[in-house]
């Protein structure tokens, strides 16, 4: 397959579906498979570009999330479970502080529970990190509807922030060595904070200025009434959509009501976009194409989410999605199937263009145009 950039929307859809699937389970085996799928696809399709380097950061972030979650459980944990691993000197607060407790006996169940929970959050962070390193944030911006452009820009600035932070941190760490300081260990890590943030802030301001002086955000004048209508439409539609999605993903609300709320939110959102799009003057140069590989990636993501959602509503699978803490979690066949589907983008997508700086010629340049 000749190399080209995949539509960034496809990568984001795939990764958000995987994240939603991960949110459905605390089974460490299923979560592990989702992380592996993300790692495999990133390894196969990561471009040689600045944003491609951010995945390691997200793996690190995932590890931090798990560690912090488990530590909190040990320190503040409510003592449930029977298998006591070790005792910490503990303080119990009076009843009116409703069971708050520090230290005390640490049980295997409590730690496992915290680990599962942390792993779920870590998985969500890692699969989103996969999209962040697979798709160029700025190409995503081109696909954002004109009306959402301003919002899109804030997201893109945030997305470019992380790869830049990792590059900056590397450079500042070198600089510390130049000043005769040890850059390893926790202390070295913490001291990177100020210079890295100062640099990132400077650069964001330069970027904002550059965008503004190149005409970003030009639009025709809108009346005060029109603007108020737009703002209230945006807020209403977003809240409705969020409430609907929340009730879909959590137990307790009937599915039909949730779907109704989501649909109303989406329709209102559409109206908002159409209204706002009228006042914008923006056009798009060579929009990214959406062809077969994009469809395959999106279908893979939606299919994985589908498998998890079906498992959630079927009563006999509930124990697999949320395993008991005192038994070994089981790995169902559909889990492996979902893993297989989640990995398909590693093969079904064209590789990203590679650039050899020495020859000054892009490899596969014809594929780009």
């Amino acid at each position: 397959m000749s190399s080209r950039w995949l539509h960034p929307g496809a990568w984001w859809l795939w990764s958000l579906c995987l994240a939603a699937a991960a949110s459905q389970t605390t089974n460490p085996l299923l979560l592990g498979l989702l992380i592996s799928a993300a790692v495999i696809v990133v390894a196969a399709r990561k471009p040689d570009a600045p944003w491609g380097k951010s995945f390691e950061f997200f793996l690190f972030l995932g590890a931090m999330i798990i560690t912090i979650r488990v530590l909190f459980q040990i320190v503040f944990g409510a003592g449930f479970g029977t298998t006591v691993l070790f005792e910490l000197p503990g303080v119990s607060f009076p009843d009116w502080m409703s069971g708050l407790r520090l230290g005390g006996s640490v049980t295997l169940e409590a730690i496992l529970g915290a680990f599962y929970d942390g792993l779920r959050l870590a998985t969500i962070a890692i699969v989103i990190g996969a999209a962040n390193s697979l798709a160029s944030p700025t190409r995503l911006l081109k696909a954002v509807p004109t009306a959402l452009y301003e919002l899109g820009v804030s997201i893109v600035v945030a997305l470019t922030f992380i790869p830049q932070l990792t590059t900056d941190a590397g450079r500042i760490r070198e600089m510390r060595r130049l000043r005769g300081r040890n850059s390893k260990g926790l202390k070295g890590f913490v001291s990177l904070g100020l210079p890295v943030l100062a640099g990132a802030l400077d650069r964001s301001i330069i970027l904002a200025e550059s965008m503004d002086s190149r005409g970003y955000g030009r639009h025709q004048k809108e009346t005060t009434l029109g603007r108020r209508v737009s703002i209230s439409l945006v807020l209403t539609s977003l809240s409705l959509a969020l409430i609907g999605v929340y009730s879909l993903l959590t137990a307790g609300t009937s599915a039909s009501v949730a779907i109704l709320i989501v649909s109303i939110g989406l329709i209102l959102g559409g109206v908002t976009l159409w209204r706002a799009g009228r006042t914008r003057v923006r056009t798009v140069y060579r929009p990214d194409t959406w062809a077969l590989p994009e469809w395959l990636v999106s279908i893979a993501g939606v299919a994985v989410l589908g498998v998890f959602l079906v498992a959630r509503i079927s009563p006999d699978q509930a124990l697999i999605l949320r395993p008991e803490l005192n038994t070994w979690p089981s790995l169902p066949l559909w889990g492996l199937l979902a893993f297989g589907i989640a990995c398909t983008p590693a093969i079904t997508t064209p590789p990203p263009p590679a650039f050899d700086i020495d020859t000054n010629e892009p490899v596969g340049a014809e594929a780009l145009t």
Partner: protein
């Protein structure tokens, strides 16, 4: 085309205005060069043209600026985007997209230009700026000169009537700078664009400009180059040479100076240039043998041999990407060589622990502020004393000597570029490393600050430090370096005394040498010395 009327501007946190009651007109089709010392408000002036000042900076603004009849008072920078193209100092931070073509199209997308028109204009600009082969490349794989040309192209696609550039060549090697300036020259001639640019390296731009705006103490004097250069304290070497030799009219370009030069040549014929003495028989500080180095598959150093003695000031020159920075990085142990041996002061820097490194070699990076991590200058100096293991107050005293006007309470990042460079130099020099490395030390520095830096470095060399600096600044090299090493594609292609190396190559020759070639004079100082003797 551009008109300033009674413009006064003061930043919110300052008591003195940066611009005072400016009144001026820049006619259409002119290439105007803005001059001024570091911190004189050049960037503020440029940013006022498209309204970034005051819309983005805040502050107190009175008077009016209008471009082609549109005032910045009622128009935000974005509303002027079709009229004024603004290229900031650091093109990389201002890039909004990833690929060359997308970057060129960005302004047009914002202006809502039809896709077929966009395609046509992108083609035109690719041709005009010689970027055709790079059209599909990611921006981060381009060299500095290419990036600068893309930055210029990306504002030109909106077909502005005015182009504003802030130090477009400060990060470029002489060859790439020529490319960018030639492109600008073409824009002025072919498209009739009005160009306003600020630049410290006058020797590069003076010959191209039609008028000069001299910014001093918040007010501007404008005039033709030959008028203003009669008296200006900020002037390139060729002007100093002309004034010294009493040439009238004062030549602005090398070519004019060469035609005026025969009498001076005759006068100099019986003399030979005085060169800086290099200490003899000093201990060997750097010894590099057959060093190879690579990033991934890309080889950056191919068998480099280099020996440096104490007290030498060596300039490392060459194209962007020739391996200069990598060589410096291997010398300070940030980059590991794949083959060969490196000895700095008798040890391999890579094996040194961080706290011992500074006793052997110090490195001042291209962005000096990367070294800073405290909130005030005083705290920065204090932590440097601890790092260097010297008595409290050493670094601060050193700084007071080099830059007397720096205040204790200032945030290091708020210092001017020159002051940042000097502070970084102090932080490193406090530990008295035998070898001092500098990467592009004069980037963004004006002539007086450069002179000051030169004095400081010469002092350090006299005290026995070995200085190795990577630089594109040929005039600095001519004045300061005792030896020049030129790199090309990872190899050392020339290594010898400054006098002979830089006069051999037209690319690296300073202005004086270009005027008086084939005689080997390189600085105005050398000639002044001879003329003084003749008079005495």
């Amino acid at each position: 085309m551009i008109s300033f009327q009674h413009v006064t501007f003061r930043y919110a946190e300052e008591s003195q205005p940066v611009l005072r009651d400016l009144n001026l007109e820049i006619p259409a089709g002119e290439l105007a060069l803005l001059l001024g010392a570091t911190g004189s408000g050049k960037t503020t002036f440029l940013r006022a043209i498209n309204g970034l000042v005051p819309h983005f900076t805040g502050g107190h603004f009175t008077g009016s600026v209008s471009v082609n009849g549109r005032s910045t008072q009622v128009n935000q920078p974005r509303e002027l985007a079709d009229l004024v193209g603004f290229v900031a100092q650091d093109p990389v931070s201002g890039f909004v997209t990833d690929l060359v073509e997308d970057e060129l199209a960005y302004s047009m997308e914002c202006l809502g230009i039809n896709p077929p028109v966009m395609r046509r204009r992108v083609e035109e600009i690719l041709d005009l700026l010689g970027l055709t082969e790079l059209r599909n490349r990611p921006l981060h794989t381009l060299s500095g000169g290419q990036q600068q040309r893309v930055a210029i192209g990306s504002v030109l696609t909106a077909q502005p009537k005015v182009l504003v550039l802030d130090e477009p060549t400060s990060a470029l090697d002489p060859g790439a700078a020529e490319e960018v300036l030639a492109a600008l020259h073409r824009l002025v001639h072919d498209l009739g664009i009005t160009v306003v640019l600020a630049e410290h390296r006058l020797e590069r731009v003076m010959q191209y400009c039609d008028s000069i705006l001299l910014l001093e103490n918040g007010s501007i004097r404008s005039g033709t180059p030959s008028e203003l250069m009669q008296t200006s304290s900020i002037a390139p070497p060729v002007i100093h040479l002309g004034r010294l030799a009493g040439w009238d009219p004062l030549p602005i370009s090398i070519r004019d100076a060469r035609r005026a030069a025969p009498p001076l040549r005759a006068l100099l014929a019986n003399h030979s240039p005085r060169v800086q003495a290099v200490p003899i028989q000093s201990p060997r500080i750097v010894e590099i043998k057959e060093v190879h180095c690579s990033y991934g598959k890309r080889t950056v150093l191919r068998g480099v041999d280099l020996v440096l003695d104490a007290g030498e000031i060596t300039a490392l020159m060459g194209r962007n990407g020739a391996g200069k920075s990598t060589l410096l990085r291997t010398l300070v142990g940030l980059k590991n060589q794949s083959k060969g041996t490196i000895q700095v002061n008798g040890v391999d820097p890579h094996t040194l622990a961080a706290k011992d490194l500074l006793r052997h070699v110090g490195f001042v990076p291209q962005e000096p502020h990367d070294l800073f991590e405290s909130l005030t200058v005083a705290a920065e100096c204090k932590s440097s004393d601890t790092d260097a293991g010297c008595p409290p107050g050493t670094t601060r005293a050193l700084l007071a000597l080099m830059a007397p006007d720096v205040q204790d309470g200032t945030h290091p990042r708020d210092l001017s570029e020159g002051q940042q460079m000097l502070l970084a130099l102090c932080l490193i020099v406090a530990a008295k490393p035998p070898l001092l490395l500098l990467d592009e030390p004069t980037r963004g520095l004006d002539y007086p600050t450069k002179k000051k830096l030169g004095e400081v470095l010469r002092g350090l060399a006299t005290a026995g430090h070995t200085v190795l600096m990577a630089t594109h600044d040929v005039e600095l090299v001519a004045e300061l370096a005792t030896r020049v090493v030129i790199m090309g594609d990872g190899e050392i292609v020339a290594n010898g005394p400054t006098q002979s190396v830089i006069t051999d190559s037209p690319m690296f020759a300073p202005q004086v040498s270009k005027v008086l070639a084939p005689d080997r004079w390189i600085t105005v100082e050398q000639i002044a010395y001879v003329l003084n003797q003749e008079l005495a």
